[in-house]
Subunit: 294 residues, 2 copies
Amino acid sequence: MSDLKPYLKELVSDIDARLDVFLPAEGTAPETIHKAMRYSIFAGGKRLRPVLTLAAAEAIGANREVALPCACAVEAMHTYSLIHDDLPAMDDDDLRRGRPTNHKVFGDAIAILAGDALLNESFLMLSHVEATSRYTGIDFIKELATAGNSIHLIGGQVMDIEAEGKTISREALARIHDTKTAALLTSSIRLGAMAADASPIQLSCLSRFGRATGHAFQVIDDILDVTADTETLGKTAGKDLVAEKSTYPSLLGLDGAKKEAQRLTQEALQALDELDGDATRLRQIADYLLKREY
Amino acid sequence: MSDLKPYLKELVSDIDARLDVFLPAEGTAPETIHKAMRYSIFAGGKRLRPVLTLAAAEAIGANREVALPCACAVEAMHTYSLIHDDLPAMDDDDLRRGRPTNHKVFGDAIAILAGDALLNESFLMLSHVEATSRYTGIDFIKELATAGNSIHLIGGQVMDIEAEGKTISREALARIHDTKTAALLTSSIRLGAMAADASPIQLSCLSRFGRATGHAFQVIDDILDVTADTETLGKTAGKDLVAEKSTYPSLLGLDGAKKEAQRLTQEALQALDELDGDATRLRQIADYLLKREY
């Protein structure tokens, strides 16, 4: 199997091209909102979630084309959550993906509305998916809307805000990571697999892979917040400490957190051992995530 | 045909009961967000949009039960848009449906997230609709997601914000009303009709009815902002004047605006003349909207 980097580049290029088609053109009235939506979507993010969507579809043996509506939908949902999380009323952050945050450029009102519009758009994008022999179009909608709801993605942000300034238990922290990060990441993979008409057993293996990868990703994110600088990250470094957030490094120490990330990555790779499919790319991605520097 | 009031009461009771089932229970963790979502959903709104959804399904000859997921979905979308519109960064309003606005009670962060959660939830609710012989589940999702997008519902709010402090043309005002109010109201009716498996001709009649009713509703809203008091309205009266917004009364005078509301209601009723179905309740509702005092 060839290098991962050119493969990722190819996938990101496919995703960006389809996002460009799905989103209303920049000149569409009212112009401000469409500029704001595109500003955050095309800010050069890693596209981790949609890449996993496409790689999951390929692992099941499908052409990745069939999973593109799912890939775009999860990226739109992820981007809306970043725009809203960065607002002054929430994490109050000025920098995201190496650029000023949406509200810094367009103001709070438009940033709120651009987030709303991307959340709404994620379901419009997803409605372009083709039903398969096992999954109806509505199954895809339920999957994404459950990952994004007040118990998962939004609930995680609520718990994250409520935990600021407190020391919480490792279990409580795992619960935040599970809802805020792992739920959407797992669904990104499941949606790709569903578009490829995965069997229930394949879907179950990939769900376990997704859950463990999502947790590993967030532990590494917490580590990088301590060890990397703002320029490398493209977002403000050290902000967990400022917000007095409990993180894996603060609870387990830096070494303990690194070991936990390795353990979770191992768990993710073990789930793939049982996958009836070609998991090479997914393995490479999990490995790459463990070693990433931003 | 009997009185409208007991009929409306019956419909609202059905809608509220189903909303209660669809929304996570108030004790669900994290509790704050579920309290906030329920606070705004069960604030005693008129339920105009979901009532129209159910009445449209009945006009086509279906049991209104089939349209309940659609009815709940449009009410959730409408409520999210009110929570976000009331935020300090937007219209900065303290009173809604006779009670303090969501952010006044729960703070800006939770109000933003509660709005997000209700928008997300609207698609989860809608995913419970049964496909019909003419419409797939995805057709319903596309309908709602289009009404709610950056060109319609959200686009209308953007234009509304951008028009503050300016005198705009009657055409520009009609465009704001069309996107901000009439689009979701029309879709509320269309979704009900679709759940009843309406024919393309029936759907087209009801779309014209919805569009005209939506415009009439907004003209009357503008009139009441001038003529009614805050207590009767349950939201701050006179705020268009304070925000220096162009409205039908400010462009056409109070009498001119009233005539326009009558003309639009007439247009709505005429669309029903061509409906193959029982439009009695829809006629009564259009008439009631013209005469409403809050």
